[in-house]
């Protein structure tokens, strides 16, 4: 059954976000799953940041870094204005974007998802007026590179993603 089922209000949405993705792990406590330890959420830098901040990249240029890619199994890209969560199991990938604070999610969104550089969906293109966690799912073959590009323009400013990418 889907895990991101209950999304009923701003407050509940936050709860759904917590339920939708793997438990939060602080950056300092990030661990990498190994063959001998249970898989936990891997935390990487690369979530949502305020546009224009030193952490931001210009809109439209936020592309995955050409480095080794972590697994999409359970990963959380954390920025100073929100995080992008990705989980994958049995070639089914789920993604979500949680702004922190949630009020930063109010505004006009533009989200697209990519597999190995090819756009798969224009995943979330609408204006939200209460706190919300854009999310979606994809069937993915193994060995592809998944990444999210996102921007939200709202009363609290413009926020955009910084590079993120994982291997399916």
């Amino acid at each position: 059954m889907r895990k991101f089922l209950v999304v009923v209000s701003a407050a509940a949405t936050l709860g759904a976000g917590a339920a939708a993705f793997a438990p939060a792990v602080s950056a300092s406590a990030a661990t990498t799953p190994t063959a001998t330890t249970p898989a936990t959420t891997v935390v990487h830098y690369g979530g949502m940041v305020r546009a224009g901040s030193t952490d931001a990249t210009p809109a439209g240029t936020a592309t995955p870094a050409a480095t080794a890619y972590p697994s999409c199994h359970s990963i959380k890209y954390v920025g100073n204005a929100g995080f992008i969560s990705v989980q994958e199991k049995s070639n089914k990938l789920q993604w979500g974007i949680t702004m922190t604070p949630l009020s930063y999610s109010v505004g006009k969104w533009s989200v697209s998802t990519y597999l190995s550089g090819k756009k798969t969906t224009s995943g979330f293109n609408r204006t939200v007026t209460i706190g919300y966690i854009p999310h979606g799912s994809l069937s993915v073959p193994s060995g592809k590179i998944f990444h999210v590009m996102a921007e939200v323009v709202g009363p609290d400013g413009t926020f955009t993603n910084v590079p993120n990418a994982c291997r399916t």
Binding site: M1, L5, N125
Partner: protein, 141 residues
């Protein structure tokens, strides 16, 4: 736009509903199919807190399988350079069918559970403009 296949336990609608607690947590609000692609619109949760959720299916070897799910209308890749564009929302005119015009193409679609779903097929990625909203008019039926 073609009429969806007859409902069955392995139809796109049935599969989409099954993924939400065997239908306990979702209501069917629309379905469209063309060839081996189908789109299902569900309303998850219960009133008044329903959350629309769209699921795209592809048929391969006679079996439907889920390709993508989204909580917003938009463009979806169907392989190659083209994709499909979905529009859905609460019906502007009650239970009357809705006429949806997008980039010169008009479709009249039914309303289910207060929502309509319109799908425009074979749309190049570059032709999709998230800011371009369809023109909606209630249809006399």
């Amino acid at each position: 736009m073609t009429v969806p296949d007859q409902p069955g336990h392995d139809s796109p609608a049935a599969l989409a509903l099954a993924s939400f607690g065997d239908g306990r947590f979702a209501t069917l609000a629309g379905e469209a199919q063309q060839g081996d692609w189908a789109v299902v619109l569900l309303l998850t949760n219960e009133k008044p807190f329903v959350v629309p959720y769209e699921v795209v299916f592809h048929r391969d070897g006679g079996r439907w399988s889920e390709v993508a799910g989204n909580d917003s209308p938009g463009w979806r890749s169907t392989g190659g350079a083209n994709g499909l564009v979905t529009f859905w929302a609460e019906s502007p005119g009650g239970e009357s069918p809705v006429r949806v015009s997008y980039r010169g193409t008009t479709a009249t679609v039914p309303v289910e559970a207060g929502y309509f779903l319109a799908v425009f097929w074979d749309v190049p990625e570059d032709d999709f403009d998230p800011a371009a909203q369809p023109e909606l008019t209630p249809s006399p039926g």
